[in-house]
């Protein structure tokens, strides 16, 4: 297996264009598992860890642009104040070793419906920045991911980063159900992002992709912050999920748990905004 290690972003894009069958790798916390189980046998690996541009983040108009190579540990430490929902989600990822190594770009690249960084990004209305030697484009995240572990990344493209809008006084929450207290793939999860006149949501691990609960969003954006509304919101979120039975849980449980998570998290978000 060939091993490509470009020293910068331009070289990375060139390498990608020249080797469309090379598999990009950053933290390797998904890729190495696939290789170990011999589920993939790529002709080459394209190691992006030496591309300094990828591990930066910066403020932009109306939000933050996070490079694909920013790890969970850094999201928690450096962006916890601006993007609390993403930081909450990052804290639930794996173990310290995985959070030190795993990246937001890797989570986007894997496009798993159980990817924990994804629900807060959906709820905030983030867009994924992809690039190739032909140029760069930004794609709304819910158009980037199109199925279980499937996205629209072109053969010659790499994920450069993700742009996350930051709104004044936004209250964000993320909650994840797992059957143990650490190192667990989400049975289901929920993110909510509440700001003036806008409520963003996303359901994780209860459908082929992360799912925004649009009806629930519209309802909550105009609802008075009361118990009954929180309950109704929970029901609408549960209705938007399309869970299945699998080894990690039943569809019925997932739907029920989502109604509870949604009710609780919107209540906390409302409390924050009222305070």
């Amino acid at each position: 297996m060939e091993f490509l290690q470009p020293p910068g972003w331009r070289e990375a894009l060139e390498a990608r264009a020249a080797h469309p069958d090379a598999l990009p790798i950053w933290g390797g916390t998904d890729v190495m598992v696939e290789l170990n189980f011999a589920r993939t046998r790529p002709a080459a690996l394209l190691d992006l860890t030496h591309v300094p541009e990828l591990s930066r983040w910066e403020s932009e108009d109306g939000g933050v642009r996070i490079g694909a190579g920013v790890t969970y540990t850094r999201l928690i430490a450096e962006l916890g104040d601006r993007l609390p929902g993403l930081a909450m989600a990052s804290r639930t990822v794996g173990s310290p070793q995985i959070r030190n190594r795993g990246t937001i770009g890797g989570n986007l690249g894997s496009s798993s419906p159980a990817g924990d960084a994804l629900p807060p990004l959906y709820a905030a209305g983030a867009s994924v920045e992809v690039a190739s030697v032909r140029g760069a484009r930004r794609i709304p995240i819910d158009e980037f991911i199109v199925g279980p572990k499937r996205n629209v990344l072109g053969e010659d493209e790499l994920i450069a980063g993700v742009f996350v809008p930051v709104r004044d006084d936004a209250a964000q929450q993320f909650a994840k159900v797992g059957t143990r207290n650490a190192m667990v793939i989400a049975v289901c999860s929920f993110a909510v992002d509440v700001s003036e006149g806008r409520v963003g949501t996303c359901i994780g691990s209860a459908g082929p992709t992360p799912i925004r609960a649009r009806e629930a969003e519209a309802f909550a954006a105009s609802a008075a912050p009361e118990d009954a509304a929180a309950r109704e919101f929970g029901e609408l979120v549960a209705a938007a999920a399309s869970p299945i039975d699998d080894v990690r849980g039943t569809a019925a449980y997932r739907r029920h748990a989502l109604s509870v998570l949604a009710r609780r998290t919107i209540t906390w978000a409302w409390e924050t905004r009222c305070a």
Binding site: M88, G178, R180, T250, V260, R264
Partner: protein, 719 residues
């Protein structure tokens, strides 16, 4: 010559493990780390089907892969084609039929592990799939197709204790289920076989019992015992899962066939198919009691799923029967315990060995009874507690300290923990207290130490005293397997105490000395400790007689425990050597809307007879509780239609450090009259009653019946 009291690091002291720091630093050599010049790698082709006829096996394509040195099938097994601990019913490599998913069909040796695996995938096996027999209840009926010549009933133990159950003021009944737990040891099955010049073979292997492995493998290889030499390699946990042979015979066959050293290492997924698991159980219980809380009688029916091969199923079945009632005085009981063959994964030994399943059921029954009698559940248990002299349902009296009442009192009287602000789910942020209810639950359990039912169980130790540069040195040589339990320190501690010599070397365990028996049944410190003690005493006597060490003093001694009896047709007999008891109190916080649990604290009390190494005692107790907690809340191999759905640590969940609560510990040292230093095995009791204590606490919090472990969120919230 120094005296017993002077020596440092003798018995009763918290001696550190010599392998502790290397293990933490990743420097310890496990069996999977071994390497030899010119070594080949073995790989195993396994059946994808739970039940099928093997019509043909074509190895031509595999043999043609460059780098492949051998591809072997059942035809290449020179000796006995089957093995097994109690019955030789398990093929070394499948012939005629496969009976469970993952059954080995062929093995390959190649110069690279990946080449070996690739070649294995090129072997063409023609199967005729058969309908798998997966329901143990159906297996028990006459209508089921026999999977083995003797039919599907592997063993039935019936116990008739006291008069026919009669009057009772209150009767409670219940049905209970235990899922299939895995030992989940971290070091997968592995070993290195090296062909020897004498036509024999040396195997370096992670196992629990070198001699019984060796005997089975020698028979399959058709070699005399002295040509098959086994040495213990670094063991990464066992818990019963290494009592059966896995890759031992395969590696030896490949090494003898190729004339090259052959190493085999299972991956994590393969490991789930490579060893036996804890028997799933279905149990039906009926308890009758008098109004004052005294038990009148119990009826119990236990059905264990043995899976495809016998392993140690019949002993597990018998143990489940012996300990079906718990450590209580019961005047009358009728117990039926069955174990059957199915096409599910084979089950065998796992920490607690039959007593775990029944403890879950009898403790649930005791809580039910307490509720029906409107009594405090601890009071009810204490009223019925066994003591020394109480009769086992198998007829014989309890012959050792049986502080059941005292253990319950200790856990009950401990102050309850305060709230500490932590919530179920932790950083997963599911609750800030909404839906959270605290629950407290109690359980007590017991089991036999050592092998039962007339087995002449023994261990052997060779001890040599010599003088090296004017200083005395003791070498201890046994075949006893250090599997993480701490035997390595205990043997040295005994030698120091007995001989007053600080400098003790524990030699590698191998088959060049007599059998030590298995590192299982909480027996090894008792049995091998006894053998080391006896050998040391013989050396000491000689030393005192001579007055000098001279050119060395050596003694080899066997330690046998007292003989026990087989059970008769009514399940009666003095079947067990001695017993170990423990009690647990669990405090849990349950998110009653989400069915998520945080165990806040476990309090436990256990009689260890004599704490040979108090630090190691604490480690065993905490580790055992973690395993019990795992069975209560998460650990289950999910098998559907004979197929395992979660053969990975992604989906077979074991507790992490964040799931494990603080343990409050009371250790009693009520010396056993019949064991070396009065010690009593400690490995299993922590795993037995911790599970029902956690479940009782969750019941208290949720008000639900919870008949099955591991608990599922759906059950806890009543979905």
């Amino acid at each position: 010559m120094s005296t017993v009291t002077e020596v440092a690091n003798g018995i009763g002291q918290s001696v550190r493990r010599p392998d502790g720091i290397p293990k933490v630093k990743g420097e310890f050599a496990y069996s999977s780390d071994m390497w030899a010049d010119g070594m080949l790698w073995g790989a195993t082709l396994r059946s994808p089907h739970p039940r099928a006829r093997v019509l043909s096996i074509d190895i031509a394509a595999a043999l043609a892969v460059p780098g492949v040195f051998a591809v072997l099938t059942h035809e290449d097994v020179p000796g006995r084609k089957t093995y097994g601990l109690e019955h030789h019913d398990q093929p070394v490599l499948a012939f005629d039929e496969v009976r469970y998913q993952g059954e080995p069909v062929a093995v390959v040796a190649a110069d690279h592990p990946e080449t070996a695996r690739y070649a294995a995938s090129k072997i063409e096996v023609a199967y005729e799939e058969l309908e798998p027999l997966v329901d143990p209840e159906f297996a028990l009926s006459d209508a089921s197709p026999p999977l083995h010549p003797g039919g599907n009933l592997l063993r039935h133990v019936y116990i008739e204790h006291g008069p026919e159950p009669g009057e009772a003021d209150v009767v409670v009944s219940g049905e209970y289920e235990v899922g299939m737990q895995d030992q989940a040891f971290l070091g997968p099955e592995s070993g290195l076989a090296i062909p020897a010049e004498d036509g024999g073979v040396d195997l370096f292997i992670a196992t629990q019992w070198l001699h019984v492995d060796r005997d089975q493998v020698a028979a399959c290889l058709d070699l005399p015992l002295e040509k098959v030499r086994f040495t213990l390699a670094g063991v990464g946990g066992a818990f019963g899962g290494r009592e059966d042979v896995s890759m031992q015979a395969h590696a030896c066959l490949l090494a003898l066939h190729t004339g090259r050293p052959v190493k085999m290492v299972y991956g994590r997924e393969e490991s789930f198919f490579g060893h036996v698991h804890r028997h799933p159980a279905r149990m039906r219980y009926e308890h009758g009691a008098y109004a004052d809380g005294r038990l009148a009688w119990v009826r119990a029916r236990i059905l264990l799923d043995g899976g495809a091969y016998a392993s140690s199923s019949s002993a597990v079945c018998s143990n489940a029967a012996s300990f079906a009632l718990g450590p209580y005085v019961v005047p009358s009981a009728r117990i039926d315990s069955y174990v059957v063959y199915t096409d599910n994964p084979p089950c065998g030994a796992m920490r607690g060995f039959g007593a775990v399943q029944t403890c879950f059921a009898h403790e649930a029954q005791m809580d039910k009874l307490a509720a029906a009698l409107d009594m405090d559940p601890v009071q009810l248990r204490r009223r019925n507690a066994m003591e020394t002299g109480s009769s086992m349902p198998t007829g014989a009296p309890i012959n050792c300290p049986a502080p059941v009442d005292e253990l319950l009192r200790l856990v009950h009287e401990r102050p309850l923990p305060e709230g500490d602000g932590a919530v179920p789910g932790g950083v997963a942020n599911v609750t800030r207290g909404e839906g959270v209810v605290r629950g407290v639950g109690y359980a007590v359990g017991f089991k036999n130490v050592g092998f039962s039912e007339g087995f002449d169980d023994f261990s052997t130790a060779r001890v040599r005293l010599s003088e090296v540069r004017g200083e005395p040195l003791v070498e201890v040589h046994t075949a006893a397997c250090e599997v993480g339990q701490g035997l390595v320190t205990v043997m040295a501690q005994i030698a120091r105490t007995e001989l007053g010599v600080e400098n003790v070397l524990v030699l590698p365990a191998d088959t060049q000395v007599g059998s030590a028996g298995s590192s299982s049944a909480s027996r090894q410190t008792h049995m091998t400790g006894g053998a080391v003690q006896a050998a040391c005493r013989a050396v000491r006597e000689e030393w005192e007689g001579r007055g000098a060490i001279g050119d060395g003093i050596e003694a080899t001694r066997e330690y046998h425990h007292r003989l026990t009896q087989k059970l008769d047709a009514k399940g009666q007999g003095d079947a067990h050597v001695t017993f170990a008891f423990a009690a647990h109190r669990a405090v849990v916080d349950v998110d009653t809307e989400l069915g998520l649990v945080r165990v806040v604290e476990i309090a436990t009390a256990q009689d260890v007879g004599k704490a040979m190494n108090p630090l190691a005692v604490e480690g065993q107790i905490e580790g055992g509780i973690a395993q019990g907690l795992g069975l209560a809340l998460m650990e289950e191999i999910q098998v559907v239609d004979g197929l395992v759905r979660n053969a990975s640590f992604t989906d077979y969940l074991i507790p992490t450090i964040l799931d494990m609560p603080p343990v409050e510990l009371d250790v009693l040292e009520l010396g056993d009259p019949d064991s070396p230093y009065g010690l009593r095995g400690i490995g299993e009791p922590p795993t037995i009653s911790s599970t029902p204590a956690v479940v009782a606490a969750v019941r208290a919090a949720t008000g639900r019946e919870l008949r099955r472990v591991p608990l599922r969120p759906d059950d806890m919230i009543g979905l």
